[in-house]
Symmetry: C2
Subunit: 368 residues, 2 copies
């Protein structure tokens, strides 16, 4: 029996994770954490028989009925999840809140299944080093990284190149000036939260994925490629020096990587299947010039240190304002660029990356 602590259980990936756990008789939830949606969290707790819950949003916690408070950890107490027994920290939450918990989980040699981008992007060097030191496993849940992970985990040969695919986002080919949040949120392939759907459209999401791949697989940036693949069937390709490549294919559903992370190293049945008799694939050059945040992300990733944290912070503020209709689509990258240009000197550490992100969020406000 594997015991799981799910962070972000009321979000898009979190709900899919619980849907999968419902089907797995050898996986049990020990703890559920959400940001603010305590009503759904209570419903989930009841269904899965979970005795301990956390809320990371202070206001939501303060609003809890008194009778509920005893089963909740407050935002300040969140590290007390480690007083409870679990094997896998499943990080389905967005943003940087999870970084400290991931770091502590790795220190305790727990497996970390990670659908969250910011943690690895911002603190990859520290987290991967800790995972290696403690021999703790980090299992990526993003479809692209799950694809690469599965190939690299199983093939003994040294990889020469990694390729992740991009379906192009909601606005591939569109004129960016007329783009509203409504247009972007109609993503053609993946059903995701609002922020990540915007990030897909700006190229930020793919840029963050390259940074993640760089950390997760200890691979130099110049050997990681992105190709445009609108069909979203091939998620990752590993190239070997003999001219051969291994590609990972699956229907575009997060359920497959979520289930793999929960049942690792086993694979278990899912009804989703590809029908090869009617598939057409195309791979094209990823049009970087159409995705202004992509090159900003690579720039920050290559600079390293706290730059990716500044990137994430500025992006979060800019995207929030875009979603509220306060700035244009184009302004997102401009704001990030301006904030990155003013990156302060902050020491690269767990606290440092969080401080840098916070600085960037408020700095970005000045350009909104």
């Amino acid at each position: 029996m594997k015991k799981v602590c799910v962070l972000g259980s009321t979000g898009s990936v979190g709900k899919q994770t619980l849907k999968i756990i419902r089907t797995l008789k050898d996986v049990k939830i020990s703890i559920l954490c959400a940001h603010s949606n305590y009503k759904l969290l209570l419903k989930q707790a009841e269904e899965f028989g979970v005795k301990k819950l956390c809320l990371t949003d202070r206001n939501a916690y303060l609003k809890l009925p008194y009778s509920q408070k005893k089963i909740f950890f407050s935002p300040d107490e969140i590290e007390r999840i480690f007083e409870h027994d679990f094997d896998i920290l499943f990080v389905a939450s967005a943003g940087s809140t999870a970084i400290k918990l991931i770091y502590k989980a790795l220190k305790l040699k727990k497996t970390v299944a990670i659908a969250n981008k910011e943690a690895i992007v911002m603190a990859g060097d520290i987290l991967i080093k800790e995972a290696k030191k403690e021999e703790a496993k980090i299992i990526p849940v993003d479809s692209e990284h799950s694809a690469l992970f599965q190939i690299l985990e199983n093939f003994p040969h040294k990889a020469e190149g990694l390729t992740i695919t991009s379906s192009g986002g909601a606005i591939a080919g569109a004129n960016k000036k007329s783009i509203t949040p409504q247009v972007i949120l109609r993503h053609p392939v993946w059903k995701m939260g609002a922020k990540i759907t915007v990030d897909s459209s700006t190229g930020m999401n793919k840029g963050l994925e390259v940074i993640e791949a760089h950390h997760l697989f200890s691979f130099p940036f110049e050997k990681i490629s992105v190709i445009l693949h609108r069909e979203a069937i091939v998620h990752g390709i590993v190239e070997f020096k003999d001219g051969s490549s291994i590609a990972y294919l699956s229907p575009p559903t997060m359920e497959i990587p979520i289930k793999y992370a929960l049942t690792y190293p086993e694979k278990t049945f899912l009804p989703e299947k590809l029908n090869y008799k009617n598939l057409k694939f195309s791979f094209e050059k990823f049009p970087e010039e159409k995705y202004p945040c992509f090159s900003l992300a690579l720039y920050a990733g290559k600079k390293g240190g706290i730059y990716p944290s500044v990137l994430c912070g500025a992006n979060e503020t800019a995207v929030q304002h875009f979603l509220k209709g306060k700035i244009s689509f184009y302004k997102i990258s401009q704001i990030i660029e301006k904030v990155l240009a003013k990156t302060p000197k902050i020491r690269y550490s767990i606290d440092g990356v969080l401080e840098a992100e916070k600085w960037a969020k408020s700095e970005a406000m000045r350009f909104v």
Copy 2:
């Protein structure tokens, strides 16, 4: 240092094998065997410093200059190759001549690298059983089987389905009645010998590959699929029960699987590379109805026993006559069908499959 005995060194695959061995400093040729081309064989022997050669064609052997005879084994002495030290029997020869040598090599726990189709198709049950018993390795060299082998060898998960691709052969979509040997020998993708190019056009080659996959990977026929994939970049796909698939991709050159078989389990550098930025793939239903020999092959494969040997024998005679312009393209499958219908009772054994093939070759003559 790996020592190799190459069977069929003067043929199409044999020459490519020697081209690869030329680049490998840890691989040395101990023995070279050819059917009849002793002039080229002598040149190869000189280049690679090989002291022992074989000819399997009696007439060619008899024509050898007396001074050369001492370095050649005669067709009757061919099993004396085992008096010499080698690690890998590299079977680049076509036809069934190699079956006994493969069987003996496996008994002696040698690795068998196999580009030959007939041996596994005709005697698969016996050879695979022997390989398992002696823990000897059979490494397929065909691009499709090398692809599947590499995936199955490295992924620990039980496969749910195997898919091999077909580029469609030289006459995909053509009107079969007007097809001459000249048309067929212009294969669009693979450079191969005349017989196998015809076999690609009739569907026999793909049918034999399914039978081979059935034996090599101990996989039931109903879980092995063929899909049309004209680009010949994806060679094999393994499907898993979680809905994911792993595909093996490479440029369409035999050099990659040849090199892998020689350097197994390592992969070594080859300059051939795929450029993903300009790839388009399509997968379509394999149009079985256009390839009359495909279903005949599956029929024989599923019947098992000596049926595949009868299939191979009848096909060889029919294709020879087609290449000489004596029968039409359409007649090939008709002859095989008639011969298969008369399959005699012969016990399934190494001698039995050879006897069945011989019977089928001469029986096919009656329908030419």
